[in-house]
């Protein structure tokens, strides 16, 4: 297992390097927007570009970029957005909001989703299952921003149960109960989809597992239905469900552009798309690294997790 993990990590580093190199070259190959700004001395922008090294060959630019990152962990400063601010610092400054909203959301959504899924599976083809399945379809089909608008309008604006936007850290600490309550509309908006998705997966997997022969054997051994479901059925069903849950946890860092916008959450949701639209190379590269690393790393974590959930799955074992 250790050898396998090390091998995977080395492969991850290589893959990360290849992806980063490709992204750097490709984004630099895009033509720069021509400088034409009414009433401004266009030479200022040209000189600034020259100073930023835009005129150097791409290979030289990449070498300088790698040198700064590897020796100083310096991802540069914002050039077109968050100008002069450290790219990495901006990311780290905005990340907590995104993480905390998404974390609350999935921490609440996972047990609810699993509960609904288990209950629907146990009540398969009964009215309870039909009600849950219909609701699941509804919540999966409707995009989260629709909930967000509805939640904001009815619960925040009309009923006044929650504030319309989350407060700033000036008045409310990020890890406080008041902030948690303020985030509830966003948490709900993000959570509905997760609940529905998990409930559907859990129901589907559990329904299949519950009909397995070993379940019959477990019951004949004298286990109650609850014991058999919890100890045997759920464990097998989790082989499929757990990666989804891990995926949700990984997704917490990506943020939701629209939800963050609606509830005025200063998270990272819009950073990546803005960096591409505004052609901010440093932000683009830092974010590409960050998300690629998280994606690759989570792949390893997920693969390894299979072995823990189901001992029959051996990682890197030779035949």
């Amino acid at each position: 297992m250790v050898k396998y993990t090390i091998k995977r990590i080395l492969l991850m580093i290589f893959t990360l390097f290849v992806i980063m190199t490709m992204c750097f070259v490709l984004i630099k190959l895009l033509p720069l927007p021509a400088v034409k700004e009414m009433g401004k001395d266009i030479n200022i922008i040209l000189m600034k570009r020259e100073q930023m090294g835009y005129g150097k060959p791409i290979s030289v630019q990449y070498a300088l970029f790698l040198k700064n990152v590897l020796t100083k962990w310096d991802w540069g400063v914002g050039e077109q957005m968050y100008e002069t601010l450290s790219v990495w610092n901006v990311l780290m400054q905005k990340l907590p909001y995104t993480i905390i909203v998404n974390l609350y959301s999935i921490l609440i959504a996972i047990p609810i989703g699993l509960a609904f899924g288990i209950y629907a599976a146990l009540k398969k083809n009964k009215w309870q299952d039909h009600v849950i399945s219909t609701a699941v379809m509804l919540f999966i089909s409707v995009p989260s921003y629709v909930y967000a608008f509805l939640v904001q309008y009815f619960l925040c604006f009309k009923a006044g149960l929650f504030p319309i936007t989350i407060p700033s850290s000036e008045t409310t600490a990020l890890f406080s109960f008041k902030m948690f309550i303020s985030m509830m509309p966003a948490i709900m908006s993000l959570g509905f989809g997760v609940v529905a998705g998990l409930a559907r997966y859990t129901r589907a997997e559990l329904s299949e597992v519950l009909t397995g022969d070993y379940m019959l054997l477990a019951r004949t051994k004298g286990l109650t239905k609850a014991q058999a479901t919890a100890r045997h059925a759920m464990r097998n069903a989790m082989v499929v469900i757990l990666p989804m849950i891990i995926g949700e946890f990984i997704g917490i860092i990506s943020g939701s552009l629209i939800i963050e916008k609606i509830f005025a959450i200063p998270g990272v949701g819009s950073l990546y798309i803005s960096s591409i639209n505004l052609r901010d190379y440093n932000f683009f590269m830092a974010l590409t690294f960050f998300y690629t690393f998280i994606g690759l790393f989570s792949g390893i974590v997920m693969d390894i997790s299979y072995g823990f959930i189901d001992p029959r799955i051996r990682m890197g074992a030779k035949k």
């Binding site: 630099k28 190959l29 895009l30 033509p31 720069l32 927007p33 021509a34 400088v35 034409k36 009414m38 009433g39 401004k40 001395d41 266009i42 030479n43 200022i44 040209l46 000189m47 600034k48 100073q51 090294g53 835009y54 005129g55 150097k56 060959p57 791409i58 290979s59 300088l64 700064n68 400063v77 914002g78 077109q80 957005m81 968050y82 100008e83 002069t84 601010l85 901006v90 400054q93 905005k94 608008f149 904001q152 309008y153 925040c156 604006f157 006044g160 319309i164 936007t165 700033s168 850290s169 000036e170 916008k261 609606i262 509830f263 005025a264 200063p266 819009s270 803005s274 505004l278």
Partner: protein, 836 residues
Amino acid sequence: MKRMIAVFLALVMVFSMFALAACDTENPNPNPNENTETQPGNEPSEEPSENPSEEPGNEPETPAEDGVFNGVAGKDYSDEASYTFLDFIGGTTGLNWNPHSWETSDDSYVLGYISTALYDFVLNEDLSGYTIIPEAAADLPVDVTADYVGQYGIKEGESAKAWKIALNPLVTWSDGTKINAETYVYSMKQLLDPLAINRRADSFYSGEFEIVNAKAYFYNGKVSYSLAGDAAASALENDNLYLDLGFWGIVGAPDAEGNPAPQYVKVTDETLYRDEAVAEGEAEDWVSAKYLYDNYLAAGAPYESYAADYLYISQSLAPVTWDEVGIKALDEYTLLLVTANPIAEPAFYVPYNLSSPWLVKQDLYESCQTWYDADGNVVEPNAENAVSITNTYCTTVDNSVSFGPYDLTYYELDKQLTFTRNENWYGYSDGKHVGQYQTDKISCQVISEHKTALQAFLNGEVDSIGLDSTDLETYASSDRLIYEPQSYTTKISFNTNKEKLEAIGNNAVILTVKEFRQAFSLAIDREKFCAEYTAAHEPGYGLLNYMYCYNPFTGELYRDSEYAKKAIVDLYDIEYGDGKAYGDLDEAYDSITGYDPAKATELMNVAAQKATEDGLWDGSSDIILDFRVYSSDEIYVKMFNFFNDSIKAVCVGTPFEGKVSLQMTEDPDYYNTMYSGNATIIFTTWGGASMSPFTLLYQCYCDAADGSGNQMEVGFETEKVSVTINVSGQSITASLQDWAHWCNGDAVDAIDSKVGKFADHTYPERCEVFATLENTYLESFVTAPIYYRNTAALLTRKLEYATQDYIQIVGYGGLRYATYNYNDDEWASVKSGISY
């Protein structure tokens, strides 16, 4: 024991109170800004005492500033209650309020609160306009050009080039550090630092207010590029002609060795660059500047007429030392500014150009700098091998400092800005700001979603909200609705280049017939269009809207002038006077709607006949006019349908019936498509420079042949349109383009030799000339103004602006003059019940 401690503490408290009172007596004014210019019987003086805090016995009074609005009579501006303005700004990608590199309006929003300009514009006494006041300056600028003859290139007899500015010694940084003339000089030096390449450096070397040698110092021998214009031919001979590769969209495209293409490349350069828009192996997959010039822009080439927009010359100014730059500290509180050219109407334009501060606090500024060498390594400040400097000044609370009425006390990236009173700001105690700044605190959220902001406004969490067209349906009748005009006019621009239109096909060449274009214009019901498809815009008929002020001293608006009205009345052939439909010019002007379907139909008949006779149309085939729009969003589709229906309606009963239609094409780059002559009809919008109306005609409407390419009416050759105008009793004939040049302040020998410079004439004379030119442009019907842009907003019931009439430059008076109906506590208890 407890009782003893309690008694002891009580004694300590009592003693402390006496001690505090004693301190107050000894130093009645710990703030050195206070109690100045307040000696009984003294008029407000611009020569404050050396040490104002040592003038006991001066009872604070509040002498009102002459000619300036001094607040609402009877209003208590200094009560103990707290007043917070709840604001918001839209989505940001970080804020940078460094006065040397700020970029967006949100950046300047911060600067506006935390800084004080040398001069400012405030409401005048009767709220009918604005007036200029010295703020960080102690007095208006004094022309001392004669004292500097022989220096800074000033010649004998010249004037309006050197300005002595007495500074207000009460102005300090928020920590009490003084701001003097050296601060201004140091800040300017940093602004123009060649290594820093500050975005705002050009504020003082381009445009009318150019500080002598500022550009040369900033460029430090580097090459700069400017449009070649008439010098293109000689530049070609001297191998100094450059092509802007933006012409082909390949700036930054790699050459064979991976080097990115610069923006400007000599037209003789044969280096090939890969055009990613063309598949490898196909024609023009690799192109050079020479190829593009020879095949597209050279004389006789298909895009020759666009050469003026994309051909540049390079130049390099000889480097100068800092001592040669036209800014000096004459003494501690006197600044000298020397401009490269005389400033026209200096009483207005010198203060106007000095109404944006460039000050930075030296110790903080330098602590925010990082110096780099050529390889990107950090080096010591002022190191010889340093090639660039970055600066984080004014990007966080810690590296920000105020010298304005408010201080930034909290800033959370993309979330919140909080400003509180800068208690060290001299204006709170100098007696010259009576009736101003009732606001104690400004709490500004970042809310990028409009619906969220609207709900926050209705909940009393935001004090003002801009409305979109959907909102206006709900709040159109609200008594809290305010309109704010913008300087922009939106028009339909027609391509009238016959060759290009023939290449486009679909009988688009019909647009070369003036009567057709005129009919198109008259077919548009502008009032209906504005009401149904825009938020708050109003029908527009001229190139310039109601924002343009032609006399900066009186604030008179161009559009309200007799000449400007006549230009539009003549455009629509409306007669007035005795025995006519309208009694006078105003009545005739007010009657204009721009919509006359009957006349449009008549003109369509004429156009059809002309087009057939001239062989432009065969009389039976369909005429499909491509209408390019930015996107295919619902609103654009609705607008397009409106125009399409309008044009079809006026063709009924003419040979064009059932033949003419518009075709919508989504084109996010439609401006450039029109530049290249490949668009037929587009929406265009120009505005800005609302204090310089007479420059707009040249800069936006007449420069296709020799300017920066802002003219959208492709095919309309202003250099070939002859206009005769009577100026000062002399009838002068010149091309429309020459006239526009003249109005722009440029030298035009044909006109200058007869009547002198444009700036030598009175404002009414200038207005008359300009109105004639505007009418000439509009009479060609190469463009049809549709609406003047406005924004609509709802204002909270918590506060009132000083005036309900929008005033040029100062708007409704802003937060400076805002007064509150509710303090914070009162508002908290009533806000949920407020309706709009």
